[in-house]
Subunit: 273 residues, 6 copies
């Protein structure tokens, strides 16, 4: 789905058979002004999505953006000004905030982890552990937070996991089969120890995923192969251990928690006179 369809269906979800509160209030169409305001520290993401929500509800609303995605926010910072029919603003409010709060939550979490490894060359990657239907938006928020995107889905990179390998018999057999058909995509293989790593390198892959290895193990692996292929650490990354992994010289650290367990950022809509 394109973003516009996601927004449209999200509005359908909330509006259903109609906003009975606004509909029954018979509000006079006096123009009103509302502000979207941060109520916590964080990194803004989703301001364009929110704008599109308001526009889709009522194309007559006048919207002014005071901040852009990627901006650091502090409590009371004004993000956006919306002027127009109060009924339209109230109908769009919840859906607009639901997007912006989540995306800003992801950007904020990403930025905090990125800050921890800022002095290294290591890049922080997301995963496919995203909310169903919102992957494109969540991966966008990771980029806004300073992270990088791993593959988008099953279609744009080859990733051989333990189960693929077992089904083929060995890493080298699995890689051989992929090479027979694939000319377009990078090939990554998940490995869990040095022996598998050696086999993967010999098989000629583009990247290895060092899965659930200690930072000491990672250090040895990186030392041996960093020059020859891309190396990625995955599994069990926390605020406490991320720097230790990054210092090993590994190229990438990937973290599912960026998108599977974020905290929505506190952002509100307020009417003002």
């Amino acid at each position: 789905m394109f973003i516009d369809e996601i927004i449209r269906k999200s509005l359908e979800e909330d509006l259903g058979s109609g906003d009975i509160t606004t509909k029954y209030l018979d509000l006079e169409p006096i123009s009103n002004t509302a502000f979207i305001v941060a109520k916590a520290e964080g990194v803004l993401a989703g301001v364009e999505v929110a704008r599109q929500v308001f526009r889709m509800v009522d194309s007559d609303l006048k919207i002014t953006l005071y901040r852009k995605d990627g901006d650091k926010l502090h409590p009371k910072d004004e993000i956006m000004r919306i002027e127009g029919r109060p009924g339209s603003i109230l109908q769009a409010e919840r859906t607009a905030l639901n997007f912006m709060q989540r995306l800003s939550g992801i950007a904020t979490k990403t930025a905090s982890l990125v800050a921890l490894i800022a002095k290294t060359d290591c890049k922080l990657l997301d995963t496919r552990k995203t909310t169903p239907l919102l992957r494109s938006l969540e991966k966008y928020a990771v980029r806004i937070g300073g992270g990088y995107n791993h593959r988008f889905g099953l279609f744009d990179m080859v990733l051989l996991k333990e189960n693929h390998i077992r089904a083929c018999g060995s890493i080298s057999e699995a890689v051989k089969r992929i090479r027979k058909h694939n000319t377009t995509y990078k090939i990554e293989v998940e490995v869990t120890n040095m022996a598998e790593l050696d086999e993967a390198v010999t098989a000629g892959v583009d990247r290895v995923m060092l899965d659930n290895m200690t930072s000491t193990e990672v250090k040895a692996a990186v030392k041996k192969y960093r020059k020859y292929l891309e190396m990625e650490v995955s599994g069990g990354i926390t605020e406490e251990n991320i720097l230790a992994y990054a210092k090993t010289g590994v190229h990438f650290i990937s973290s599912g928690a960026l998108t599977h367990s974020y905290k929505s950022m506190d952002i509100s809509l307020l009417f003002k006179e």
Copy 2:
């Protein structure tokens, strides 16, 4: 969207132009067995959704459920068994887990808050602060966790918030306008102090939402009106203060955090022989 459409579009999101890993591996169609296993404590939710994901990818997969939604899970508990083509299992895996991990996260969080107020008569409600497009599933997970659903969207209950009231001039005027057209839906009004509460009760609403009031203020409000209408506390509910609010005798406590900031539950898929 109906659940089936949500699942179908989620699979489209992940599969895109095709799962190149599985497609290029030329796996023999030897039947394989995988298990979905809990890796943390929690309350299961979404097991039927996950089953439907597998079925939609490959209707030949044989699926056995060992647990049902609402069950308490412990690490290593087997939830589901899937037997069939390994390529099909691998294609469905991530999407199935993305649903189940989030829904179980919500059910678990809900259950932990419900446990804190279990000895009171107070009911825990969700809000509309849900993930866009997944509201029906997330509200289902709240019920599985022992919570209750507040209105689903803007269409099934009247909720007069500060901005509606200001646009009409007063609570009594706003309620009067709603009563002029509405015969079907309960009317709730947000109030922030005793004066507003008095006005709301006089106007004849079905429920009041005591917004951001202290538990002491709530206690006084409840004492005065509990017998006459439904009373709900909202705003700033935490694990620390929820019991104090519940003990005031208020009928409902609503919490946006149930759905806006849950932690995905750790659940994995493992192949076994």
Copy 3:
């Protein structure tokens, strides 16, 4: 479906693989003027829908509204003026009229019944006996005609009918089960005699539907319980008996005929020079 989607699909239905008459006529794009004109007495409804049909076919059409929904119409009254490419006007004509004629038919029928009970406090309600896919529009037309909307669908009010009650064993058992989960929606119960009514009131419902009772029976029921809960009469309402029912003091009368058997209002499109 949102209204725009209903309109778009309705145009697809009529235009199919293309309007061959207009396409093959090679009309010169000389601007033309058409009027939509009433050819009977009635209450107008659907003028905005019709406007949207014309706009969707050709956004260059200039449309002026002379009447608004709810206006009383007399033969020859001009409702709308459309100026632009004649081919566009001709393509939109039938679909625009099909909507407006039906909705005005419903508004007209509703208004005639409402007029009969205008001196009572009784309100006229619609039902779910609407044309598939057009419920939102038909319920809108009922409101335009002075009626009120009963629940929109199965999702926004609890209505316990005979078959639900039988499946649970008794009214009180059915209501108890609903109360266990529901905190959001009003509960209505269908009753057919005084004993059932007594049981429903005791069970604590919000509304009773007095089904197929005589006006004499209704009068007794209303006398006993009017002060304590909402009361609705349903079944067999006609122009002849509606006033007798309304005079019993019952709060609501619901009528499926408003939407299941209306007569389309005669409205035409005419080109003028």
Copy 4:
């Protein structure tokens, strides 16, 4: 839209965010039996559509048909038997009946008009004055009632109306333009007097629509041209005058009222033990 999509969207319209009555009743899945029963005289239409509604809600329901489309119905005639989960039956009931009642209403009305002209060779046609989105079903019901279908939409027959002709200058010019491009479709022209009719015949059309002419005028027209092309009467057809028109020897009479102003047939669903 294909029929299945119409049914699916109609169910979405009614079920919305879920059937709260059934969902909250926690009914035991004891199989139950319901019958769909006629409560008036009429011609059945839509029995397959109704069956599909039940199947789409719950594919486990066992459905037996006692009557088929086109059968004459009398009060108390059993049409269909449904056995299965009562919750499923109750969810499908209203939508299934909404289709069947309307379609049977159209078939019944059509059959009554067809009966009036049964002794003539004249055929009764429908028009494009159908309910938006339901045209295929309504035209089907006309056939079930013994009528014939006029063109389905703007795409499958050329019909030159007054406004097309005026835009081209004359009937002969309009027909000439159509002939330049069209090789596939019949060409019909609307005429209102003998002079226009003469011009249309000379221009070489396949059919003429005699619009709002008296039966005497029609008689003269038919006498002159019946042998050479198809002739259709349109406008102001009633139960009172239809036979007079049919007796003129005209080939077709078309009537918008078949679909724009039908009365739904009274059909009910009853649970039995």
Copy 5:
């Protein structure tokens, strides 16, 4: 699907989860100018579709058309000028060209066959052998090339082929059954020899399709019946034999090759300063 939906889905197909090249280049939004230029001889078709592709990607692009559909093109002819963000132009380029190259290929092929029979009265028809989902565009391109459209699909003309006839027993029986229900559509019958042709004419059809007959056989058939009904030649039409068939006096020749085996026309997009 309407054209806009075809275009939107075609863009989704190409853009998928995002144009990574353009997205990652961080191009400055300096306006740029590109031209669509012919690189071969041919007949242009699809220029409006291409324009709509660009607009849908970016409504700010300024587009000037230098040629219109039906124009003869020579190498280096400029067709269209696009000015705006280079990223937008690059995203739309391939999809716009994919449409225009194919449609121009069809128009060119059609025009070349039409030229061969230009001195006869015979008209060249297309068939239903079109690319799935693109039929409306491909049939449009045939008209642009000077051809005529045969029926659009199964719904707008009756065509009795060998298999239909066999299932009914005879041509006359098949036609009789169609006549019983059909009043709207022309009836065509496929015949393969003079005996079948005689039977079809006697049965009273509107057109016969002379299938896979030699031009000598066609000549005899045409001589006998040309005055009485439309006659069409079908099967095995080539550049070599088309004139011989056309000279027989047959009304129509239909050719599947117009749409099933065209060569895309070479058209490019170039940036200029």
Copy 6:
């Protein structure tokens, strides 16, 4: 769109408001047998798609496959047997053949080019010059014919063309910008001479596209860099010159003609007794 949606919409395109021929014939539901038969030499592709077309029209049809995709076909080879209602077979016929004829045409063309370079190590790639909406099917047919897929769309590989490079100032600047964000996708650059090639190699890309270079130029380029990165020839590939290019030792040759100008393969459906 998933394949099933492509098929469903293709059937809607052909069936529109209904197959009037079959519908009006009132065929008795006597089971009938049809065969799909090759009428030319070629490589079969699309047999599963065709089967799915028949199934979607009528799930009761019994289908037996005699050949599978990739099989060499000779005239009169039977591909598939379909048994069931003749009306269903006739409705699905054209759409099923339209898919299979095109896909087999692509597979056949691909196979003929692949055969020409079979003795080299060079692989034949497709492009994005595919029919809008059918890319997944057409790229599948290329694989069946022995070719390989280039990137699917704009989302799964970075390809810097002349216009991207000009907008950035130089190849090295463009590659630098991509590297700043991209960690997932291979980077390819289009070059037209040795100087650009040198710059691209220095910039560190994964593949170069040698655009419109002579085989002599390609030979020199390959000699210099073949060991260090993937090399692809593009532009002006014909049956005459493909072997000369392949013999240069280049890794890949890409050809738009595989999908933009194929000839549909002649395949028919025949009823037999």
